[in-house]
Symmetry: C2
Subunit: 749 residues, 2 copies
Amino acid sequence: MMLFTKRLLVFSLAILLFGAIPQDTNAQQTLNDVKKERGLTDTDVLAATKTFMPRGGRDEYFGFVGTGNSGTMAVYGIPSMRIYKYVGVFSPEPWQGYGFDDESTLMLKKGSLDNRLYKYGDMRYPALAETNGKYNGMYLFYSDGANSRIALLGLDDFETKQVLMHPLFVNAYPGVAVTENTEYVIQTSQYPTPWDGMAADVNADFDSKFKSGVTFWKFVDTEDEAGTGHHIGRMIKEESFTLELPPYSLDFFDAGRMGSYGYVVGLASKGGKNYVYIVDFKTLSTLSTKPVNDFAVVSLKDALAANAVAMIELPTAAKSVKVNPDGKYFITAADESFVFDFAKVKDAFTNKTYTGNADGGIPVIDNAAVKHGSIKLGNGVMDVVFEYRPGIVYSSAFNDKKVIRWNYETMKIEDELALSFKPGQLMVPQGLSAEPHSNYLTVVDKEGLYDNLAEIGPVRPSYQHLIDISSDQMSDIYTMSIPQANLYGSVAVLRTTIKPIIRYPLGTNTRTGEISIYKTVAGQEKIEREGNRVHIFGTMIRSHITPEIVEVNEGDIVTFHLTNLERAEDETHGFTIDTYGKHGSFEPGKTASLTFTADRPGVFPYYCTEFCSALHLEMEGILLIKPKGYKGKKGAVEIVLTDAELQGYKKNYEDKLEVIAATQDVINSVVTFLKENNYQDYPYVEALVVDAFDQLGQAASSKEKHEKYAAEGKWKDAFLWAEQYWQYQVKTADVGLRAKKLLEEKISE
Amino acid sequence: MMLFTKRLLVFSLAILLFGAIPQDTNAQQTLNDVKKERGLTDTDVLAATKTFMPRGGRDEYFGFVGTGNSGTMAVYGIPSMRIYKYVGVFSPEPWQGYGFDDESTLMLKKGSLDNRLYKYGDMRYPALAETNGKYNGMYLFYSDGANSRIALLGLDDFETKQVLMHPLFVNAYPGVAVTENTEYVIQTSQYPTPWDGMAADVNADFDSKFKSGVTFWKFVDTEDEAGTGHHIGRMIKEESFTLELPPYSLDFFDAGRMGSYGYVVGLASKGGKNYVYIVDFKTLSTLSTKPVNDFAVVSLKDALAANAVAMIELPTAAKSVKVNPDGKYFITAADESFVFDFAKVKDAFTNKTYTGNADGGIPVIDNAAVKHGSIKLGNGVMDVVFEYRPGIVYSSAFNDKKVIRWNYETMKIEDELALSFKPGQLMVPQGLSAEPHSNYLTVVDKEGLYDNLAEIGPVRPSYQHLIDISSDQMSDIYTMSIPQANLYGSVAVLRTTIKPIIRYPLGTNTRTGEISIYKTVAGQEKIEREGNRVHIFGTMIRSHITPEIVEVNEGDIVTFHLTNLERAEDETHGFTIDTYGKHGSFEPGKTASLTFTADRPGVFPYYCTEFCSALHLEMEGILLIKPKGYKGKKGAVEIVLTDAELQGYKKNYEDKLEVIAATQDVINSVVTFLKENNYQDYPYVEALVVDAFDQLGQAASSKEKHEKYAAEGKWKDAFLWAEQYWQYQVKTADVGLRAKKLLEEKISE
């Protein structure tokens, strides 16, 4: 009450002195009303202000989070914590036709061991591609824990480009890590199993027939042949290899960088003993291999002979191990966490100062001899992540409901943040690279129980919290809900590091990065038939799918090969055929194919499924599937109009011509401004202007058509094409106005 | 600058008077720092404060939004705009095993016309079930535009319960509407097609063979036989019927309520003419039907003879038509929007004051005779929605980038909100019921272009804006991103109207609502074989899948029938088998089945895929698929421990016993508090306490086991079971503490 009185007094004084309440006080009062009404504290308002994204604002980071068992990857913004996309990776995803169109289906089948389309995946820990240990924003890798697959995603278009099934492992939970120039993508088994696909006697043969392993997938980045500068990196199975290990259960791992480049460190356990394994893959890569199931394997014997693998024993199991930003240390996440010194480990390898052998004859390095220090952090320590400040790390203690900020150089706890939930995996943007940032920390809440966040029946979403770590006092500022997820580790990269494209070279098969042999350009649409096999080479552009009528026979095998001719930003068209359960997504420039057997006779509209303009609903056609024995005439839907109807369309047409003239005035004024202000000096503005003119270029043929139909008195067609022309105009004006706005900003900079 | 100086002066005065800046000023300064750093205005801060959800806060509403072409429904909170779930409806959804487990797959196949599993759906407009015209929070209905299906979802568990494919239509975009007591769920065709599955001559036969129709799906709500009070309403295909209409293209429609109960109004067009059709389904339901494709059809002839259908011509095409909250009017969304008076329409029917016939001989009611008024609202008017205040509606004008608040009684515009984007569909919570609210309005932004919101490659998410309409001045307060969506209409209901369950009766097949014949209880797990058909009757409970080892032969057809024995809140277990691509989600009490052919021999771990406790990773088993001709011994993974290992586990066990004792102290103090404060007087608290004791009940057998193994000197097993016991304790303590907190709140009320 005292405070309230003081504030009243201040306000009264203000009124006294200036005759009115200062402007911000009014806003403050409204803010107070909302606070009171919604039961918010000052801390809440501050948190809200730190995460709210205003119109036109951009997130600082893109986060990529493993969804566990939905098989798709969630892309979200930090700090707004809004989810922007679920990318189909290991499971089919209908929205983008992933696992529905022929190209993505072929990609998935080619990556499987038996040409099968796997429809489920358990998304585990991702890794971002690196150059000199720093995220390059070009690619992302993911492992499928359940089906032992590895995936490559392109971050120019946020699509999956490659999925490979492991020829030896049957599970691969511990995720992926990359070497500092993405020379290799590393993946390991978790539970040991036999590698020969035989059912070994799991009692007697465990040590002899069950194996674990560490795989080095060779990655090669190349540019596309078209010379557009578009990168189409791929993992090369034939140049990859696996290190054979005895049947240890393997867990998380990380790759060294800079001084520790060439090493992988990871967690291993067997018979109640816990270890960090260290693998020298620079040496391994020089050894001879033998093929197992057509995959190159470095035998344990050879690896031991080459002194390329060793173990450090841990007193208790750790939950994770990670290499610090400059590559000098690796640190475990455990109730008692260990910091190991890579320099000392290298010395131990060089001098072979081993203290004995672990199972399978792997030499053991004395823990005490290579450790920098150890520290008791709490109960149920789950994870560890780095930030920008030297020596600073964060660990989560599940049972203690807290995050600990500590220093791995001084081995001292600096701060703790008490949480209202049990924390799981942690993530700092850029945190697994050589240049971590230090403003945000995300913390997984696997339970979402403690505040009963969403009462949506027996199964709930996962949650992730955003913690502000930019000051000495950590604060929990946002609770993000992530549907369809059992959360694991994640990564985030500075948004501006990623260079997204807005269109593909015309006719691109986006899964291979090459120009599709089915690319079709305007005017060259055609239907080809050979026996009961029908290929339709079609195009999509506002607001037409060409051809607009397709006739096939019951039992035909039919493929629609469609190319989206658009060059404009976000002008995606979707495609489906009623009752045939197929769906494709055609981003600007993309060519994709949909194949099905025409086994239900009848008349089936097909249409664009992604809003593309106000005439979106007109973007349709008709598939006529003639039943066996059908004798009807060929023909198109053509409805004869009455005179009254014709006059109605004539009036509509004339009205539209007036609107077109008015819109053209707007376009002209924008064009004048752009030219007078040298738009071509600003690349992004110029790209928009190219878009705008491209739109007008598209419009020309619509103008020809509406004028032709008007001359013939076909007023309905004339009106529809005039409407189409106007749609192009509107798009031109929109893009032009955005270019103008941007140009104005650039000029004033 | 002037303002700044004034404020400085005020602060200076405050310091002068009180010796320190008042407390709130400090917070204000920090807030100002954040505002400055993030470039936010006072308006932004206010918007942030209106939508931020603090820890423990609940959203006022649940929103349900059609995702267009992903085939799943997004559930989100208002005003936080966080997405809580994507519910698999028309497409398979791996996270919950929808279209993966046998039960949901059977449900989907039974609903199809040809026993096929359709894997894609185009989610269109939903409708919430009603009682007396008000949302009852029990069910939701959805249409699949592309594959002409209709779906029923239960809102007690947010799962899909029924999907039916239409026997006549091949597309069904215009969505669904329900009658005021959910007697019927109404669905219509959009593009006319032949109903007999034959390919008619689309030129000559359009008027004679192509049809459109309005279908009335009979809905019956019943309780489950187990008498748990659980409702299992279903659509009854055999009691449903379709009104045959001439080949009009049909668009959105709505059902009358109260005074206009018994009518459906919708948009129709043909040959360039635009209409509202009015159907009297009370009369239709008394007419005789003829089966077409085994579905009851009321012929157009009979409907006309019974005076049960008529048309009102519109001067231009409308985008929507909706019935107002009290059922007196229906209102179109069009550049010139019309308000029609139901009383006058009924008079026209009664007196047959028709002014002629539309195509197909449907009588036409004079527009002027039945309209209450019309109003020019703008360009590209897309939608219309109601709110609480009498007469108030909102319309969106796509081309004008604005939302218009107007009054359909006085026919006057009250206010306009200029937007930075082109608005699409609108939604007010409770807005399509007899009791709309009036605080929020959501507006679809199909383009997301104007502020370049997420640069994630060629295809972007959809956006939806939250508009605060609670005061005279409307304001745009949040931009929500919705991944995998091409947005259409949506609905929202007061959160507290929905009564979600947290568990099922043990052994529930959640798709039928009945107890599964495969229900398995603890101790009755078994494996049954008949030839090459193997049925595993298993159970799941922290942290065991029983049986833990399964042996089958290559080529066997294998089904895991699993029952989740948990009763605790959010204790879902998932299940997958490595490399077999199957996934199931088992919420507490659920029984579901996964069938596959064991065609890859080897050793395949199976495991729980949903985090369930700190011992989640231990919840696994092994499937041994013996290759043809395999002669090995039967056996389990059993690793012999060394003495050192045994002593290590012994120490772990003894440490754990101490932790268990400490945890028990916490539990005891909570129990004392609960008992002393009559927890049983508060139903929700009591439910939590039941949960807590249930957890302790589960724990008993773990205690027996760890003590037994300790007595036998089997220290690893003793430790694991002690750990398990402690997990139950922790859960008990957690639930107990939540019950205590709630009880304290209740007592202080």
